[in-house]
Each structure stands twice: as structure tokens, then as C-alpha cells.
């Protein structure tokens, strides 16, 4: 990557003037620490330290008193309670299934949209602008809007289903576990397919178009070109999109909170919602922290396995 050239330009030609170069390197190094320290300190204090503190909280029974909190260590009791509860397994199953389904749908459709944009001869700017609109949507607004569209009495979705003769009369889509799942998927995909396609479009832009022409001359069909040329060449963008999307989907909160409220029953209750409810409805901080930590553990395991499997190189620096 760019790292080697950047480093070379700072250190200069070391062979010619070794003493001067090393002095400059030392000054440069000290500057680096000074300039990065404030930002890294804030990040460490407000993200890393809390993550460690969260692990501690998950091992405690926390009670809120008038002047602060009382913590008493209870070992793994919160984890035992969480892992023994039906609600956790239900939330874990929903979140995992939702993550797999939604990321697959969004990456496949996002790739389709990206390929279309990449092949456009004019009007690309307009379409990119239109795609930025859902991306810039506040997720909560999107949740309210889709809850109106999926309303069981006067919703637009029901109207379309009736007009297309899919159902004879309006159905309460959100009161059905599958319907609620699909509603979440549609609302989520509307906002995230643009994001995925913009990332993949960035990858497609760098592909030499001559390659397609050459493959076509050799008699390769559309699917062969997609599988043998396009996908391997935009591998890095695909991995970026998948990793970002999986981590976001696994932490999903805003959309089910507004659109389905985790329902019907707790069919669409995500891990983040379960943790939130434990914290702010049951006021059980230790238990909520345990659920948060389980969520984080699943995410970390996924990230490590995925990045190993695809042998993603470290970003340069």
C-alpha cells in the first residue's frame, strides 16, 4: 500500500546522511506521538475503557443508590441466567438469522445496482444523488415511515398486495412473525443497499473495462464474466461491504425498536434490544452488561474467523 512510499519520503535517503536522517526521524517520531495522543486518549477513555468496564459490570450485581452505584461481584451468575433464558436464545437466533439473510440480500442486490451504475453512459451523477437520499435517512424516520406503509388497516403495502391479488383483503403484516421479518428486511435494505452499492461501485470503477471486452471476444457469457472477472477483482470492496454490514446488522436496534417493537411477541427482538430492555426496563445493569458482552463476543468471533478465512491483509500505516 501507500505506507512504504510515505515512510520513505519522511525518513529520506538514509544511506547518504545517516546521522541527520536519524535525528529527523526522532523529531518526526516525537511529533507523531504528540499529535496522535489527544485523539487516541479520547477514543481509549470513551470506548476501550468502557468495554473493559462492561466486562466487570457483567460479573456484578449492580444496585443504584441515592449517591451512586453499589457493585458486588457475583461471578458468572448473570451469564448463567442469560444463557438459561428463553429470551436470549430467541434474540440470538433472530439476530443471527436476520444478519445472514439481510446481508446476503443486500450484497447481492447492491452488487446488481453497482453494476448498473458502472455501465451507465450518462446520468450517473443523478442516480448517485438519488441513492444518497435513503443513505442519509435517519433510521428512526425510516422505521416510522415503513410502519405507516406496513400498517394493517390503511398501509400502502396492503393496498399494493390487494391490487396485485396477492391477498383478498388487507392483512396485518406486522402481527405475523414472517411479515414482521420481511418488513424489517425491506425497510433495512432500502437504506443499506445504496450504501453497499456505493462501496462496490468504488471497486468496479477501478476494473479495466478492456478485460470485459477481451472476455467477451473469447466467448465468455455474462455470468462467467461476473464470477471469473468482476467478483475476484472487487474482492476487497466486497469484503469491506460484508464486514461493515454484518457488524451493523448484528447490532441492529433502531429499526426493530420503532417498526416492530420486537414483536409480534419477541419474534423480532434483537440482541441490542434485549440488552436495552434489561438495562432500562428491568433496571438490571449487570444482566444487561452480560447480554452486551455476549453480543460483543459473537461479533469478535465472527470478525476473526471471517478475516482469517479471507486472509485480509492489515491496513498499511
Amino acid at each position: 500500500m501507500t505506507s512504504t512510499s510515505a515512510r520513505a519520503s519522511i525518513v529520506g535517503p538514509p544511506a547518504l546522511f545517516p546521522p541527520r536522517a536519524s535525528r529527523r526521524a526522532r523529531i518526526s517520531r516525537r511529533r507523531g506521538y504528540l499529535l496522535t495522543a489527544p485523539a487516541l486518549l479520547v477514543v481509549a477513555l470513551v470506548t476501550l475503557a468502557p468495554i473493559a468496564f462492561s466486562v466487570y459490570l457483567s460479573l456484578c450485581a449492580v444496585t443504584a443508590g441515592a449517591d451512586g452505584f453499589d457493585y458486588s461481584l457475583v461471578g458468572l451468575r448473570n451469564y448463567a441466567a442469560a444463557l438459561g433464558s428463553q429470551a436470549l436464545w430467541s434474540a440470538l437466533t433472530f439476530t443471527a438469522v436476520y444478519t445472514v439473510v439481510s446481508v446476503t440480500v443486500q450484497v447481492v442486490l447492491g452488487l446488481g445496482v453497482a453494476i448498473i451504475i458502472d455501465r451507465m453512459t450518462r446520468g450517473t451523477g443523478v442516480v448517485l444523488a438519488l441513492l444518497l437520499v435513503p443513505w442519509a435517512m435517519i433510521t428512526v424516520v425510516s422505521g416510522q415511515l415503513w410502519s405507516y406503509i406496513f400498517n394493517g388497516v390503511y398501509g400502502l403495502a396492503d393496498y399494493l398486495l390487494v391490487v396485485l391479488h396477492v391477498v383478498p383483503a388487507p392483512v396485518t403484516i406486522l402481527s405475523n412473525p414472517v411479515g414482521a421479518f420481511v418488513a424489517l428486511l425491506v425497510a433495512d435494505s432500502w437504506k443499506t443497499i445504496p450504501f453497499v452499492s456505493l462501496i462496490l461501485f468504488g471497486g468496479l470503477r477501478t476494473v479495466d473495462k478492456e478485460l470485459y471486452a477481451a472476455a467477451r471476444l473469447d466467448g465468455a457469457g455474462g455470468w462467467t464474466i461476473l464470477g471469473r472477472i468482476t467478483i475476484p477483482l472487487i474482492r476487497q470492496s466486497l469484503i469491506t461491504a460484508v464486514v461493515f454490514r454484518v457488524l451493523q446488522a448484528f447490532g441492529i436496534f433502531d429499526l426493530p425498536f420503532v417498526l416492530t417493537n420486537g414483536g409480534p411477541g419477541n419474534a423480532t427482538q434483537s440482541m441490542a434490544m434485549l440488552a436495552y430492555n434489561a438495562l432500562f426496563q428491568d433496571l438490571n445493569i449487570g444482566y444487561g452488561a452480560a447480554i452486551s458482552c455476549i453480543t460483543a463476543a459473537v461479533v469478535i468471533v465472527f470478525a476473526v474467523v471471517f478475516l482469517r478465512a479471507f486472509k485480509v491483509e492489515e491496513p498499511g500505516g
Binding site: 487516541l40 470513551v46 451507465m120 446520468g123 443513505w135 442519509a136 435517519i138
Partner: protein
């Protein structure tokens, strides 16, 4: 028809499909309550009414939520750029050790699920007496947006030729002066992208805003929009009017800086 023309038509069709739900929101914002519940749905708001906007701002004080969003978003963005730019410089232009590790670590933090930090931050903010305040949101927003802002600005600094700053150094210019007068002007697009993306992220953020500020005087627009309303019937007209006003500034900002935002997104340095 030529393949390019087919792609042009398909592309515009895709763009319009993605725009339609927002148009439905805009139409709903101008419908009277009776028309909002009509089935079959009415395509256009005739007669159009502005009563939903009156309900959002006069009755439900949505202006306060918007003001809080502006204050929190602007403060967070300014702090992110002020802390992030020097860090991006340090990580791209100096020979400090551990740059690769720091950059990887930042990337990992930026995609970590927010929920993990909610219990400890809630406990910490309550202990400090900072629940229901601007800093309760500015502090975590700065920390969670710094990693990607640093990445974005670092990438744009790497694209700037180091010759001019070496010349400035030879001429005896101080480091802050070199950064402000030589580096910043050249890296401006990257700084803009980082600032816009930070502001958009703060403007949309819901989970922390909901968890840390339960007092309406300090709640932001997404919390206001999520919690509007009734036990039995959601006041969709009010919600859509408020949503439309909350969306407009962010849409104008994103569309005005469209080229840079697309570049930022398509180089994969950003989350959605």
C-alpha cells in the same frame, strides 16, 4: 438498443424506486389526519394542509429537539476535526512507531456494536451527574466518530505531496503553521468528507441519545420522532412533518457535497 442505454434506463429506474418512499413521507406530511388513514391511500395531499407542522412545532415543541441535534452534532463535528486532523497527520506524515497497529485498532473500534458501551457509559455518566446534558452525547459521539474521521483524513493527507511542507520546514515555519497553511488547504476535501460523515452519523444516532438523555429538554430529533405519540394511534402526520424538517438540512448538506461523499463512501472508508 445499445447496452449503455439499457443501463441508463435501469439506473434511473433504480434511483426513482429508492426515492419513492421519501416522496410518500413528504406527501403524508401535508395530508390532513383524515386522509392519512384513507384506504385505498390517496396519492396526493389534496387539499394540502400545514396543520401537521403546526402540531409538530407548536404543540410538541419539535424545535427543541432539532436545536439539540444541531448543538450536539456541531459540537461533536468540530471536536472530531480538531482532534482528528493532527492525529491523521501523525499517522500519515511522521515516523512514529505502531502506526499500522493504531490504524487497525481504530478500524476495529469503529465497527464495534455500540450496545456494549451503553451499560458502562450509563453508569459513568450517572456517577458524574452528566445524564441529561449535551456532553453526555458529545463525548461518546466524538469517540465513536474519531476513528473513521482519522482514516478518511489520513487517506487524503497521503495523497498530498510532501514537498511543499518540506520546503516550509526548511524555511523555518512552525509545525502548527505548516499544518494550517500548507496541509489543510490541500487536504480540504478529506476534511469535508470527515466532517459531513461525522455530522450525519450524529444527526442519525438513536441508541445513546435514547439511553443517556431521558429529559425532553436534552433529547435529539431521532428520539423525539421515535417517542411521538399516542398509546393507541401513532400521529403519523405530526411524525412525518417533523421528519421532513429533520431530513431537509442533512439532505441538502449531503447533496451539496455529493461528489465528496460518494468518493468517501466508495473508497470504503465509511460506514452507513
Amino acid at each position: 438498443m445499445r447496452a449503455g442505454t439499457v443501463a441508463d434506463i435501469a439506473g434511473v429506474a433504480v434511483g426513482v424506486v429508492f426515492l419513492l418512499p421519501v416522496l410518500w413521507l413528504a406527501v403524508g406530511a401535508f395530508k390532513p389526519v383524515s386522509a392519512l388513514g384513507a384506504f385505498p391511500p390517496e396519492l396526493l395531499p389534496i387539499p394540502a394542509t400545514t396543520s401537521n407542522f403546526a402540531a409538530a412545532f407548536a404543540t410538541n415543541n419539535f424545535g427543541v429537539f432539532l436545536g439539540n441535534s444541531v448543538i450536539v452534532g456541531a459540537m461533536s463535528t468540530v471536536i472530531v476535526v480538531c482532534l482528528g486532523l493532527p492525529a491523521a497527520y501523525g499517522l500519515s506524515r511522521t515516523s512514529m512507531r505502531g502506526r499500522g497497529g493504531v490504524l487497525t485498532g481504530l478500524l476495529v473500534i469503529s465497527v464495534f456494536p455500540v450496545i456494549v458501551t451503553i451499560p458502562p457509559l450509563y453508569v459513568a455518566l450517572r456517577t458524574l451527574g452528566w445524564l441529561n446534558s449535551y456532553q453526555a452525547l458529545v463525548l461518546p459521539y466524538v469517540a465513536f466518530n474519531l476513528p473513521l474521521a482519522i482514516w478518511t483524513m489520513r487517506n487524503s493527507l497521503l495523497a498530498v505531496s510532501p514537498q511543499m511542507e518540506e520546503a516550509a520546514e526548511v524555511d523555518g515555519a512552525s509545525l502548527p503553521r505548516t499544518i494550517l497553511q500548507i496541509i489543510v488547504p490541500q487536504a480540504l476535501p478529506g476534511i469535508f468528507v470527515a466532517a459531513v460523515l461525522t455530522f450525519v452519523a450524529c444527526w442519525q444516532e438513536f441508541l445513546m441519545a435514547l439511553s443517556f438523555n431521558s429529559n425532553a429538554a436534552y433529547q435529539t430529533a431521532p428520539v423525539g420522532i421515535a417517542l411521538f405519540g399516542g398509546t393507541f394511534q401513532l400521529p403519523y402526520g405530526t411524525i412525518f412533518a417533523a421528519s421532513l424538517v429533520a431530513l431537509l438540512p442533512i439532505l441538502l448538506l449531503v447533496l451539496a457535497l455529493r461528489r465528496w461523499v460518494v468518493d468517501g463512501l466508495s473508497t470504503g472508508s465509511v460506514k452507513g
